[in-house]
């Protein structure tokens, strides 16, 4: 860097103060754009991390999810959905040698739960003793229930961290009694904290009880809402799903062309869904944020052009005292870049701060992302440069004798 260049850099910072209003407007433009971009990318990163973790934990590569009702991935059975019973699915699974483990599921949402002196609502899941393995969830305190508890409809419950906090505060919940609906259960274990899942649901506000206990004692039904099947060989997941589909259609006597009254979800479909979400997170949302940067860039360019017109005399004088055209061009480029980068840095701080707030508010987990920082700084530098080029060139092209007139 030549002496003049170094001196011009320092000089451009003084221009921030000399043209306070213009600098403020320019900075605001890049601040808003970079804030939006940083926020979107950071939160997107956090959401993606969360989603992938959820998918990995709940839906390893070699699993098949069977849900009653056709058409949608998540949600309760639709009208006209097939009734699935434990025995029926057990019978089907026996015909599928590829399945190494499976877990049936039934559930209730927003169920009031009481303990001595406290009340909360929770999602109640009835599962088999195989849920730890199949759903990849574990019990961190106490013991999970066993096959005998499921066979005997034992009134034992495993509670999530949110439930434990709501009902027992800091006290030890193990061995305590809770009441789900009108049925009393004994807390035998604490579930490993999970956080929020991809749907924004707090998976720690859950209680897992033996499936049969939930069916017979709480809900008075004999159906299950779905099941998760683990396939031994990841390569055969699709084949197994196809076989299961054929078996189910045959059992439900569905004519060809009639839609499924159940839904099968495999890793392939989940991957597709994840891909769609990622496109929204990292293409569509950043594009929307980038629009504000483009607007900021156009505003900056026109403000700088106006500044050049207003400072023709100054440009002429600078040429007279020895500035080369390039020095003049560099000066205006630097003035634009410094303001734009300044706004960008502020926007980066604001965006990361907002992202941090969003992460806490929506329990997203870590949202700090290098991509967001690089993108934010890069975007503000680029807008500054782009906005500065035309004004700087115009300034450099002025003939000194005309500019001084």
């Amino acid at each position: 860097m030549s002496r003049t260049t170094a001196r011009l850099v320092a000089h451009s910072f003084k221009a921030l103060n000399r043209f306070r209003f213009r600098s403020a407007v320019l900075m605001l433009g890049s601040l808003v754009g970079v804030t939006a971009l940083t926020l979107v990318v950071s939160v997107g990163k956090g959401a993606e991390r969360k989603m992938l973790a959820t998918v990995r934990q709940l839906f390893g590569g070699s699993s098949i999810l069977l849900v009653t009702g056709g058409g949608r991935i998540i949600g309760g059975p639709r009208p006209g959905a097939a009734r699935l019973t434990l025995d029926e699915v057990a019978g089907l699974v026996r015909q599928l040698p590829e399945v190494e483990a499976w877990d049936p599921q039934q559930g209730l949402t927003g169920e009031p739960v009481r303990a001595a002196g406290a009340t909360t609502t929770a999602r109640i899941l009835g599962e088999s003793e195989r849920f730890e393995r199949v759903w990849n969830r574990s019990v961190v305190q106490g013991e999970p229930f066993d096959a005998a508890a499921v066979a005997g409809s034992a009134r034992v419950a495993l509670i999530g961290a949110t439930v434990a906090r709501d009902l027992f505060g800091t006290e030890d919940p193990l061995g305590a009694e809770i009441q789900i609906g009108s049925v009393r259960f004994r807390v035998v274990g604490l579930l490993e904290p999970f956080g929020t899942d991809a749907h924004g649901m707090d998976r720690d506000a859950e209680i897992i009880v033996p499936l049969t206990t939930l069916q017979r004692r709480v809900m008075n039904v004999d159906t299950i809402s779905g099941a998760k099947l683990l396939v031994r060989d990841p390569a055969r997941v699709e084949g197994t799903a196809k076989a299961l589909k054929a078996l189910l259609r045959e059992r439900h006597a569905l004519a060809p062309g009639q839609p499924d009254d159940f839904t099968l979800i495999t890793a392939t479909q989940v991957q597709k869904m994840v891909g769609k979400v990622q496109r929204v997170l990292f293409v569509f949302l950043p594009l929307v944020a980038a629009v504000s940067l483009v607007v900021g860039c156009v505003v900056a360019a026109s403000l700088m052009l106006a500044s050049v017109s207003a400072r023709v005399g100054e440009i002429g004088l600078r040429r007279a005292v020895g500035a080369r055209p390039w020095d003049v061009q560099l000066q205006f480029l630097l003035e634009t870049a410094v303001t734009s980068l300044g706004g960008g840095v502020l926007g980066l701080v604001a965006g990361l701060g907002l992202a941090q707030w969003a992460a806490i508010r929506f329990t997203l987990g870590g949202v700090f992302s290098w991509q967001a920082i690089l993108l934010g700084l890069g975007a503000s530098a680029l807008t500054g440069l782009l906005a500065g080029v035309a004004p700087a060139r115009r300034a450099a092209r002025l003939a000194p004798a005309d500019a001084l007139r």
Binding site: G316, A320, V321, A323
Partner: protein, 243 residues
């Protein structure tokens, strides 16, 4: 020091007849001269100053500065020459607003290749008697003080040649007197000064008066043997008597 030979400059205005601002100007200026260029407005004196200051390129003719032909130098090389060797003083001061006197004076140093520029601006301000005004903004200074800041700026790089275009045109009589005193001091210290003015009283300060009319150099008189240059310049005398 300066040799102009057959300098021509014609402006082509869109939709108008070309204006021949300078015609066949040949002029020698020696080191240490204090010279006035006079003439009515439109006579070409500002164009001459722009050519002398390397702010404008003649269409024909030769401009030698210390023997070197500078009229054909590249834009960047001319900028370097202006920075090192030529100081400008303008009628409208051309100070940067909202910028301290010291920073204004230091502006040419920004484009200088000097390694150390510390103290030069302050020294130049002291030379024009504004040592106590270094931190004042132009808006906090009188017209005369502003022009003194501009002179300090013109001097900060120690140029050989000082070009002043109507330096007192925006000033009252007293401030104008102070500015002319500074020019006399600079002249006495050996600096070459070219003063462009339409004001005969101002030209009367100089040792040599060149008169331009319609782009031509029509007279060139020196102070000699007790007569001032103004006395040797009959047209000027007429103008003074008429005033």
């Amino acid at each position: 020091m300066i040799e102009l030979e057959g300098i021509e400059r014609t402006y082509h205005r869109p939709g108008g007849a070309p204006v021949r601002a300078l015609r066949e100007i040949s002029l020698r200026i020696e080191r240490g001269e204090f010279l006035a260029v006079v003439g009515a407005s439109g006579s070409g004196k500002s164009t001459l100053m722009n050519v002398l200051g390397l702010l404008d390129r003649p269409d024909a003719g030769r401009y030698r500065l210390d023997g070197e032909d500078v009229s054909q130098l590249g834009i960047d090389a001319q900028a370097r020459l202006r920075n090192r060797r030529i100081g400008f003083v303008f009628q409208s001061f051309h100070l940067l607003p909202r910028t301290s006197a010291l920073e204004n004076v230091e502006l040419p140093l920004l484009y200088s290749d000097r390694a150390s520029i510390a103290g030069l601006g302050r020294r130049a301000l002291e030379a024009v008697g504004l040592a106590d005004r270094v931190d004042h903004k132009p808006s906090e200074l009188s017209g005369g003080q502003q022009q003194r800041v501009a002179i300090a700026r013109a001097l900060v790089n120690e140029p050989d040649l000082l070009l002043a275009d109507e330096p007192t045109g925006n000033l009252d009589e007293q401030a104008a007197g102070e500015i002319m005193d500074i020019f006399h001091t600079l002249h006495a210290a050996g600096r070459t000064i070219v003063l462009v003015t339409h004001d005969p009283d101002l030209a009367a300060h100089c040792d040599r008066i060149c008169r331009l009319e319609m782009g031509r150099l029509i007279s060139d008189h020196r102070r000699a043997d007790g007569r001032t240059a103004a006395q040797a310049e009959p047209a000027l005398l007429d103008a003074q008597e008429g005033a």
